[in-house]
Amino acid sequence: MKMTALDRVLLLLTGLLAAYQIVVGIDQLSTAPIIAYTIAFGVLLVAGLLLIILGFDVLDSPVVVIVSTIIPLALSLGLVWEHLASYRILYLIFTISGFLAVSLTRAIPMKNRERVSTITIAVVHGIAGMTIFLLPIILSAQGVMKSAFALVGIGGAIIGIGGLLLSFLKAGKPILSKNTILKVLPGLLLLMATCFVAGFKFG
């Protein structure tokens, strides 16, 4: 499907928001969350630029599944590191092993590879996605963070939807038609980036 001018504008705005977040949005944090958020927003920025340059065809690459895992994993790690100090190491181990599991089950030939790979993606995305979705909302509800921080959770929900749509499409069991997914993807990415940036800034 050909990318429209509007798609490119939406992706460019997404990239600019991600760049803003990398430059000024996370300055006040400690080293580990800074690294985690830089990775998450950095992948979002570079992915947006590559989509603008190469068009939607780039989504056909097998690397997309692995790359699209990095964003929720890194974001959720940053959140856990910042707000759930006692789970830091455990979640770091989950992040690294989750990433390796998604990469290896896609790369190594094995029996029932598609099935194993799909289950692995579902588990890893599920845990990371729920963390990004629930943690900010709970923290806001408890008054630990300002209510605007819940926007990060909404961003998490959007990234979860986007990730699911893309993963099932790649797995050959699309929830929506490819054309519909590609039509909504730039808008979803911009909405997600807006929620994250606003959530971090005003939360």
Binding site: I22, D27, I34, T38, L45, V46, L50
Partner: protein, 292 residues
């Protein structure tokens, strides 16, 4: 028989000359010069900045027109370039030569008046491009791109020199960054248009050393460009946030460069070509933030 008015004639002539200055390439090189100046973080002299920009614009445009004038015969043999007004014969060749020379002299002369060392660096860029690259080496060796690269590295060095008054390590690193970035740009181009270059008899890396060596060169030079930009950014004292942004953009460049090496795909090759330009423009904007 229709008679065109003199104003219409002048307009159509300007329209024929405009493509000869390769506006995107000239704009990017000018951006590097401005970034080099602003990277010093010194007080911005608006008149100096304007003078620098115009003199650089004229010198770069002049050298590009001279390049087009001399290469009109090979441009005429290439699909991509045969419609250029110097190659297609729409413009008088003598006139093109003199326009190129006058613009060059104006640009370099203006630069020398602003500051002698700045003017010398601008002249070096013109000399490497017109004499060493275009007249001497382009038709003889694939390695001519190194000299084209050195020429392309001069605007950023010139900008830095104008701000600091001398050639410093940061200036050299910035120039090296451009020098190593240029193969990423030109070699991906020579892979994409290999038939064109072959028809014109221009030696290129793909035709001389093959695709694997060319793609390896692209990957290595991208890594070196990224290293030089990173090192210069640290020495300049760019803020941590902008350093993170440069690191992210660099990671994208390296990934694409190594993907080009591993997967021989026209699409990735073209992606790298585009991304490399975007990378350099973004890096220049980031370096320029030092001034504000």
């Amino acid at each position: 028989m229709s008679v065109q008015s003199p104003i219409k004639n002048q307009k159509s002539k300007i329209a024929l000359y405009l493509p000869l200055i390769k506006s995107s390439q000239t704009g990017l090189l000018l951006a590097t010069g401005i970034a080099g100046y602003l990277s010093a973080g010194t007080r911005i002299g608006l008149l100096t900045l304007l003078g620098m920009s115009f003199s650089l614009f004229l010198a770069i445009s002049g050298s590009t027109i001279m390049n087009m004038w001399y290469d009109r015969d090979i441009d005429a043999k290439m699909k991509r370039t045969h419609k250029r007004s110097a190659a297609s014969g729409e413009l008088n060749q003598r006139e093109v030569f003199w326009v190129g020379m006058i613009i060059s002299v104006l640009g370099i002369g203006w630069a020398l008046l602003i500051a002698p060392l700045f003017g010398l660096v601008v002249f070096a860029g013109w000399f490497f491009d017109v004499v060493v690259y275009t007249l001497w080496l382009k038709r003889r060796t694939a390695w001519s791109i190194v000299w084209g690269g050195i020429s392309g590295a001069m605007p950023i060095l010139a900008g830095r020199v104008l701000a600091t008054g001398h050639i410093d390590l940061v200036g050299i690193l910035l120039a090296l960054a451009i020098l190593f970035w240029i193969p990423t740009h030109t070699l991906t181009f020579s892979i994409k248009f290999r038939e064109d270059y072959s028809n014109a008899g221009i030696p290129t890396f793909p035709s001389t050393y093959g695709d694997t060596f060319t793609r390896a060169t692209i990957a290595i030079s991208s890594a070196l460009a990224a290293l030089a930009i990173g090192w210069a950014s640290v020495l300049i004292g760019i803020s941590a946030g902008y350093l993170r942004l440069i690191a992210v953009l660099t990671a994208g460049l390296l990934l694409l460069a190594f993907a080009t090496f591993r997967v021989q795909s026209e699409q990735i090759n073209f992606g790298l070509f585009k991304y490399a330009s975007l990378y350099m423009l973004s890096s220049m904007i980031i370096l320029a933030t030092k001034a504000f």
